[in-house]
């Protein structure tokens, strides 16, 4: 219960984004061995650039 709550908060804040990405990555690129996932650091940089290149905050 408490574990779930913490996990939920961490997903809400975005702390879990990389883990979610990795989990899905293996699902997406099962057959392509050459394809490697981004490193944690690279992932968050790309994520932020992507988040802020469009309208993301209102008035």
């Amino acid at each position: 219960m408490i574990r779930n709550l913490i996990n939920f908060i961490l997903t809400l804040t975005g702390d879990n984004d990389y883990e979610i990405y990795l989990k899905n990555f293996t699902k997406f690129h099962k057959h392509k061995k050459s394809h490697l996932p981004l490193s944690r650091k690279e992932f968050f940089k790309t994520k932020l650039d992507q988040k802020w290149n469009k309208i993301n905050r209102c008035c």
Binding site: D15, R40, C58
Partner: protein, 671 residues
Amino acid sequence: MQSITKKIIWILIALLGAFAFSLIALYREESINSVWFITAAVCIYLIAYRFYAAWIAAKVLVIDENKETPAVALNNNRDFIPTNKWIVFGHHFAAIAGPGPLIGPTLAAQFGYLPGTIWILIGGVVGGAVQDMTILFFSVRRNGKSLGQMAKEELGKLAGFASLIGTFVIMIVLIAVLGLVVVNAMKHSPWATSTVAATIPIAILIGFYMRFIRPGRVLEASLIGVGLLLLAVYFGGVIDKSETMRSYFDHGGIFLAWSIIIYGFAAAVLPVWMLLAPRDYLSTFVKLGTVIFLAIAIAILQPEIKMPAVTSFIDGTGPIFGGKLFPFVFITIACGAISGFHALISSGTTPKLIDNEKYIPMIGYGGMLLESFVAVMAMVAACVLEPGVFFAINSPVGMVGQDAAQAIQTINSWGYSVSLEDMNRLASEVGESSLFARTGGAPSLAVGMASIFADAFGRHLLAMWYHFAIMFEAVFILTTLDAGTRVGRFMLQDMLGNVHPALGKTSSMSSTVITSAIVVACWGYFLYIGVIDPNGGVNILWPLFGIANQMLAAIALSVGTGILIKSGKFKFAWVTALPLAWLVIITTTSAYQKIFSDDVRVGFLAAAKNMTEKMSMNLLDDRTISIYNQLILNLKIDTAITIFLVVILWIVILDVIRIAFFTNARSLKVS
């Protein structure tokens, strides 16, 4: 049995809501308890969500929970990611709720608490929430297409262009007016200035932490950041007490305006991880915390509303902004009732995350209800102040004069009692040298919030609460300023790319610098004019922002209405057409009045003429003449922008009418 219990509960909610609402509307004693505002709001939201939103979802939009959403169908682990509904709700709400719902109601409180509150509640459930939900649904059904793309495809090229230009204009005017709000809060206030300044290195520090030390650890980094922000508020007070330190942070409006302009440029060209992203995390945390805190404090303390239900200023003579109740209350409160800006979020990130259509009412409609509730709380915080104090803080020097004693006299002559001693004591209690003419809404909201917090948690901390509230407002205003400049830059690069491909490259440094400078120059100009304007700038800029935002909402509702008609749901089209008709009426009326009214505080042309006449009498000194010349030019620019917005709006409206006519004629022929 169970269904009967449910029915009884809903009937009780309806009765309680109706009772609370009629109490607010009809009660005319000295003061009214704020609990009734919260009760009326919550009951109305519950009823609207349970019945109206559910009906729209089932009958009008016909939501299909077995249909794959784009997040599921196009899942690419990048931007299309199926996400838990509460997470999507959190992201959606964080995106739509900015400083708008706090500032608009505070300014509109000059008409009394009633007009603004009614508009926030009714406009929210019938207008804003419907807009957000329908646009979200249509975008989900179109693989997450943006409002601009939908306008182009469903209504025509011109409508697409209109939404693009509308967005750009809103962005510019919004940033200018928000910048002005921050400048007015920091003007000759070393405490506020030093605290706001400290938020910049704190954000950068957190940015480095999240990029290099512990990548992606948002929660812990944000908590450290919030702790540092609180320390900054505290040390602001220490700086305020030291004579030498004070002098470094004691500045006038023009210096602060230039600082914001330079800062805005720097922030927009720096990489996002360094300043924008970390400050956004901080602002989201602080915003959420403060709003929850405020709700709890209001619930515990149940403060009395001291503002009358309706003031004499509904006749158009209001000191904060000129113009009659109709249409200006509907223009002043955009966010919180209906905000076109939301349509950009509802057709942006959110539709790419929803993993089932059945969550659309909760996220689209529910998200807007929560924002509307924030606006109600802002209204409460503004109206718990003594009206005399409220007007003393919010009236510009152009209305009440430079001199404090004269200002008091003017405000007393309006029938609101306040004394110089009251104002001086309050100023020293919140740690300011003066609270007179701190226009823009932020300071009076901060005083309101601080007094609620202080009453709930200790009066001796009033100054801390006040500067915490100022910091809180400044942090997310600066985020909006930075994010807005950046988006404006991308839009400009996109447009210029058609003319000269090299300028369209978002990765090119020179293109980035040039386009950022253009965007900053655009809002910087309006900000500068707002600072030198003796009427406070808010009087011109806020209505302009409101008109632009409501015009964008009208375009969004036009898209919604157009799609409903085209998909054979003409008999349900009133769901979006009704708020659309209302928006067209208020934007057109207010635009007409802003241009042609004879009242110099409303009409742009009348104000320009008045200044020209004053100058022709040769009684003014050189400095005033130079200010007047700049203001006259600005009034002409404002007139041009307003005409442009209204013309665009009407072209889109005629497009919708054309579609309605042809679709109907065709269906008649078929039958």
